[in-house]
Amino acid sequence: MKRRALRTEALFFERNPRRVRRQGFLLPAMDVPAVEPADVLPSELLRSPDPDYPDISEMELVQHFHRLSQLNYAVDEGLYPLGSCTMKYNPRLNEATAGMSGFSSIHPLQPPSQVQGALRLIWELEEALKAITGMPGVTLQPAAGAHGELTGILMIRKALEARGEQRKVVLAPDSAHGTNPATAAFGGFRAQEIQSAHDGTVDLGALDRVMDDQVAAVMLTVPNTLGIFEHQIVDIADLVHRRGGFIYLDGANLNSFAGRALPGLMGADAMHINLHKTFSTPHGGGGPGAGPVTVSDALLPHLPVPRVLRRADDFELLWQDPESIGPMRGYYGNFLILVRALTYIWSLGAEGLREMSDVAVLYANLVRHRLKDAYHLKYESPSMHEVVFDDSIQARREVHNTDIAKRLLDYGFHPPTMSFPLIVHGALMIEPAESVAPEEVEEFCEAMLAIAREAETDPELVKSAPHDTPVSRVDEVRAARNLKVTWKPEENV
């Protein structure tokens, strides 16, 4: 039997066009006297009429979202080799533990005596992340990686204030993700680039020239966005520390060395950890993630509040601390994401985490080996968990990285990352992650090789891709020119 070809799905607002009464959900019956809202609330504030949401039945609702879901690609469908995003398997055990009502149905403002298990979970995850990074302190509060960056930079700002210094600059390499300079700006600093050396790592000489008493921090990604380990990290950290600056590590790529190396030994003062990358919590179509930040002794006093404190036989919350930067968001973090991450860490244990990094790096090197003759590799330094090719060979036929990406969709794979690093023009940043079967990685390589051949023999085929997706190439320019971000009935008669 052929499945109905799914291309588009009507919007919720277009359903039940006669706007007749249907029932989508039954509310609890009233067992108290009814109240006329205008008798107790100022009548000029009352809504009239209701928001124009059509009523639909439960099955219609389920079909709507079922059909929409089928227009999506997902990790469970195939390789999702987005470099730097680490699209690994999201274990079902994580979902099961996060769904326990003792976690999902507790209120953040219940007295601590009623939520000892939740406070213990936070403490346990903190201990685990301290062990994994070799750093003495951590906050689980940040909601995402960029939020973690800002938390780290604000702690650095506070530590400088405590020293009576007002440094104005934050340095980041030209290979950095865009969130690094953005974070510096939101933290009240000026972002300045450091040039990369020929091998793609930080140019120590260039750093030496700009690292003065105005530099608050150097933000580094380890391994960097080219998938290359900063082999001079210890010298870099020494130089920066000697001149009174701090080292901020972007931990987006922790999954390449967890279990083998400790950021604490690298001289990191703060590092955010994307739980939705290294520790397998789902990406959810764009959040919620979590971006805990581990810190060195120098930043320990400035961690955000509230903090969980362990006492002799219970846990409590510290809400006020004059040395703290204050809270970065409501409550204690994306708690149910923390439950998932701890489930993953406890499941894998020490050896499992090392195995995870080993295979992540092995797979990236397999891809590098298989594709190195067909795609150009600008930086030849050894690759860790990801490899960054570019489209310069294919560009001779006017085939660019975005075309290769769209053609990959026809082969049933999600494309690699292309928006950065900015120092590689036409980048194809590939990260297979460790959880897939090796055959899946090999099939992806075959698809990439086939596209490289097509670029030579039939470039139009690649440039007009995709040919086999629910919608054909989407006009993103038009979306920005004729902005339409909500549905309005008058435009759809």
């Binding site: 607002f13 108290v32 997902a74 999201n90 974070t183 700006a185 933290g187 959040g287 950065f420 979306a479």
Partner: protein
């Protein structure tokens, strides 16, 4: 070997052979030895059953809200959660996908965001809404920074009502310190409401915005039309924060009264309390300021064949493109939580949302009536003030003490109101939703009697 790692020992051997390497260690040769360890100081791997039991033990030592009559609110509410919400959220096509940067294979997520934006726009009375923010507290922060940008950084003061959730205000203080924005706080009058004249006076002509919450932290509904006017008189933007999003089923959103921003927390729409996260920040504003809006946006367009399609748009405001000049630090949204709210709102429907909100109102009024009829030390702190589904109750002791004493009677009465300070009496914020039955109210009233 672990099941969550795809390659077994033989697979690894094969790949190493192909790469011409002897050992996996060869791949890590660029890491300086002085930063390496042989083994992490962590427990060994555990099987599913053991992890499940360990997690379950922690979960069971918490007192879940379903286990006792619960009246906790203060920004996090317990509402109906139709089973279809979790059923949709557990579809791998939604929860294991990434940000929809490739629209051709992400139309599901993109259309959900577009529907979410439309749902929020209609509730807030403003024409545009974004794809969501981290939570209500950071939504307030974004609204202040947004106002500062819209007025081109020329006004460095933000006027904030003291009755905006005090925890939100603390979060705002953290960010304001780094950006050099001065926060001026306006306390409520003796009725627990914000006085437009005091707002006008505080704002003068140097405020970039006036931010207030309605229903406010004390549960009281504010005079939105006059407060918007007061903000605008001095040239400031008017910002409404909403922490109980269900109130929008019965009350018009601030957009109807010329508010420039309506933002806050939409956890009430199908998102579990979850000990405070993940929750769902939302942000709506006027069309003319859309380019200063923080966060992601989905827009409608067409594909090459002219069919309707959706994609992320105006990403030139965002960090991965704009770098140091981005409009916001947020580089994601709360995608899955926005999906939860979309499913929830579409299940409940427009008339259903009014019915649900009216049920909250009626139950809250009923509980106020029953408490007022008690002899003894219990008092409504603002008996004449119009409230939606939450009110401040005072009694024989401070808020934290009362919460503990009533918990020992088996009722979770609410949240201590002075936890973060405030010019209001120290008592308990009691929230009532459609899930609080008449029998639960009896239990609460009996508990009050027992500790009088």
């Amino acid at each position: 070997m672990h099941p969550w790692v795809g390659a077994g020992p033989d697979d690894r051997r094969h790949i190493l052979d192909e790469l011409g390497l002897n050992s996996i260690d060869d791949l890590f040769a660029t890491i300086p030895p002085e930063v390496c360890v042989d083994r992490l100081d962590l427990a060994p791997a555990q099987d599913e059953e053991s992890v499940w039991l360990a997690m379950s033990r922690m979960a069971m030592s918490n007192l879940a809200l379903d286990c006792a009559p619960s009246f906790l609110g203060a920004g996090v509410y317990r509402h109906v959660r139709p089973a279809v919400v979790n059923a949709v959220l557990s579809r791998a096509e939604f929860f294991t996908s990434y940000t929809p940067y490739q629209p051709e294979i992400s139309q599901g997520t993109l259309q959900v965001i577009f529907e979410f934006q439309t749902l929020i726009s209609r509730l807030t009375g403003l024409p545009v809404a974004n794809a969501s923010l981290y939570d209500g507290a950071t939504a307030l922060v974004e609204a202040v920074l947004f106002s500062h940008r819209v007025l081109r950084g020329r006004r460095d003061v933000a006027v904030v009502a003291e009755t905006v959730h005090p925890m939100y205000r603390r979060v705002l203080d953290t960010y304001a310190e780094a950006t050099g924005i001065e926060i001026v706080t306006v306390p409520p009058n003796t009725e627990g409401r914000l006085d437009p004249d005091r707002v006008r006076e505080a704002a003068g002509d140097r405020a970039c915005c006036v931010a207030l919450q309605s229903p406010n932290f004390l549960g009281i509904v504010e005079d939105l039309p006059r407060l918007a006017e007061a903000a605008h008189d001095g040239g400031a933007l008017a910002v409404q924060v909403v922490t109980e999003a269900v109130s929008l089923g019965l009350l018009e959103g601030g957009g109807t009264y010329e508010f420039d921003v309506v933002c806050g927390e939409a956890q009430s729409f199908g998102v579990a309390p979850g000990f405070g996260g993940p929750h769902l920040g939302f942000f709506a504003c006027t069309e003319k300021n859309i380019r200063q809006m923080p966060g992601r946006l989905a827009g409608e367009t067409v594909d090459e064949d002219g069919r309707r399609a959706f994609c992320l748009t105006l990403s030139t405001r965002e960090q991965h493109i704009r770098r140091a000049k981005a409009t916001s630090n947020i580089c994601t949204n709360q995608g899955l939580m926005a999906l939860a709210a979309t499913v929830w709102l579409e299940a409940v429907g427009g008339a259903g949302l009014r019915e649900l909100a009216t049920s909250c109102l009626a139950r809250s009024e009923e509980l106020k009536r029953r408490i007022s009829a008690l002899d003894g030390p219990w008092r409504l702190a603002y008996p004449a003030a119009p409230t939606f589904n939450e009110f401040l109750l005072t009694g024989p002791g401070d808020g934290a003490d009362l919460v503990d004493r009533i918990a020992s009677e088996g009722v979770l009465i609410g949240v201590p109101a002075a936890k973060w300070g405030g010019s209001w009496p120290d008592g308990v914020l009691v929230a009532v939703t459609e899930l609080n039955t008449s029998a639960e109210m009896d239990a609460l009233v009996a508990a009050l009697g027992a500790v009088s």
